[in-house]
Symmetry: C2
Subunit: 280 residues, 2 copies
């Protein structure tokens, strides 16, 4: 397994691989890898000749009051996990090599990004789209795997690929959960023991809504209210709970088409997200 730190070297390597007829699979991450990330690598591995994983805590997708500095990092452990997962290249750019001081070009998605996490985190998806466009150009990937936990991000990236005609296949990787149902996240590490126990409420509220829908409840407000009640039993503060059209991400009043149920809940300073799709 090779570690590449220079963006230029990454791109030259990737272009040479492409010229020699190799297909490149890609899993972009911010490191501090967990089973969720590893499941994405497992999906990508048989689909490509060369598997690239990037580890880069991208400053442009964090707001000024967010956890950029505190975001957990452990490169040695990540390296070992990548090695075990059969990764060929870890792209690990130094901070400062990815953006020029006078960087002035941004990729903006202006519809799907507006609500949900985009509403709570202004500028977040500009940072995400821009860094992912850059990484796609550096890694020259034929396919990339993104986790469904970041449901809005996944749809924004798919839209970017469509609208900018980027020649890459985006594969959706299912959410990986802890034993009790909590979606895996590098940020789970921030939780106190009590918060960790309570944090399963995100998953439980989704499951409860799914069960209600299963017995005939299709009113979005009713489902939402029930979800809010589940969260209010804990110390978590609801950032948002929404039922939106799975394609347009516009709020729905009735579940009469595929609907994304998605929520963000804060435990002290730790913001957790989760989601599930209700299909008719």
């Amino acid at each position: 397994m090779r570690i590449i730190k220079s963006p230029q070297e990454m791109q030259q390597t990737a272009l040479e691989l492409k010229r020699s007829g190799k297909t490149i699979g890609f899993v972009p991450t911010m490191g501090f890898l967990h089973e969720g990330h590893l499941s994405l690598m497992k999906i990508a591995r048989p689909e490509c000749d060369v598997l690239v994983v990037s580890i880069f805590v991208n400053p442009t997708q964090f707001g000024p009051n967010e956890d950029l500095a505190a975001y957990p990092r452990d490169f040695e452990r990540d390296e070992q996990l990548c090695e075990k997962a059969g990764v060929d290249i870890v792209f690990y750019p130094e901070p400062g090599t990815m953006y020029f001081d006078d960087a002035s070009v941004w990729v903006d998605e202006e519809t799907l990004s507006l609500g949900l996490c985009g509403g709570s985190r202004p500028g977040h998806f500009r940072g995400v789209c821009t860094v992912v466009a850059k990484l796609f150009n550096l890694v020259q990937a034929d396919l990339a795997v993104f986790g469904e936990k970041d449901a809005q991000q996944l749809r924004v990236i798919e839209r970017m690929v469509r609208d900018l005609n980027i020649p890459i296949k985006i594969i959706r990787g299912p959410i990986v959960r802890e034993g009790d149902g909590l979606a895996m996240s590098s940020r789970n590490k921030y939780l106190s023991e009590m918060e960790r126990a309570e944090a399963v409420c995100l998953f439980q509220s989704l499951e409860k809504a799914r069960a209600l829908f299963g017995v005939g409840e299709s009113n979005a407000d009713t489902l939402k209210s029930d979800m809010i009640r589940q969260i209010e039993k804990t110390s978590g503060a609801v950032d948002y709970i929404e039922l939106v059209d799975d394609e347009t991400l516009c709020p729905v009043t009735t579940v009469d088409r595929p609907v994304l149920m998605t929520l963000a809940v804060c435990f002290s300073g730790t913001r957790l997200i989760d989601n599930a799709v209700l299909a008719e």
Copy 2:
């Protein structure tokens, strides 16, 4: 020479060419080709295996009150000129195949785009950056040639390539002029006979400023005032005349570094641009 109308077919063709080890050169145009465009093809031709020219009047770079509908078109003539210039593929997408109705992803350059043509034409460079990013992805070009007549566009595109890590070499093609010095442009066709005669004032004002600089005048306001006087002798209306730092495009007060002199002048509804660089 092959004509490709479908973006998907263009991209598949380009990806296959790349896999077979071919290098692709690219000249993006809005058609109604003239000697200026042909000079760009001539520059690209020996630098690549396969030369692609795109002909697409891009709606997103025109403002609501601009000349999108009136923009001159003559595909048959363009086709013949491309054939003669040794072009391998003309990419000629149908309007409506390049943008989805719900397109929501845009590439924004936010520094170099602000003044000059960007000031007069809000949204213009968003349209330019977005379509050029799309075309680069569709054509998979190793190199592209852009004309220096569109000085700001050239610098914006170079910045986009740098900031998004697009693996393409941008080559600058010198301005090609009519016998009297008027920079070639598809829009020259709009000019009345009198306006055509007067339109050389853009070039003459640049030459006069260069001559003044040559004999020691380095005050930007003085050079600008002289240029304005040249234009005011005609029926042309100055849209802007600026002396800016050649890299940052910020206005200068003294020509003590490479300076781009650039101007836009309207004759009736026809907006012409020209520029020249003063180097110390």
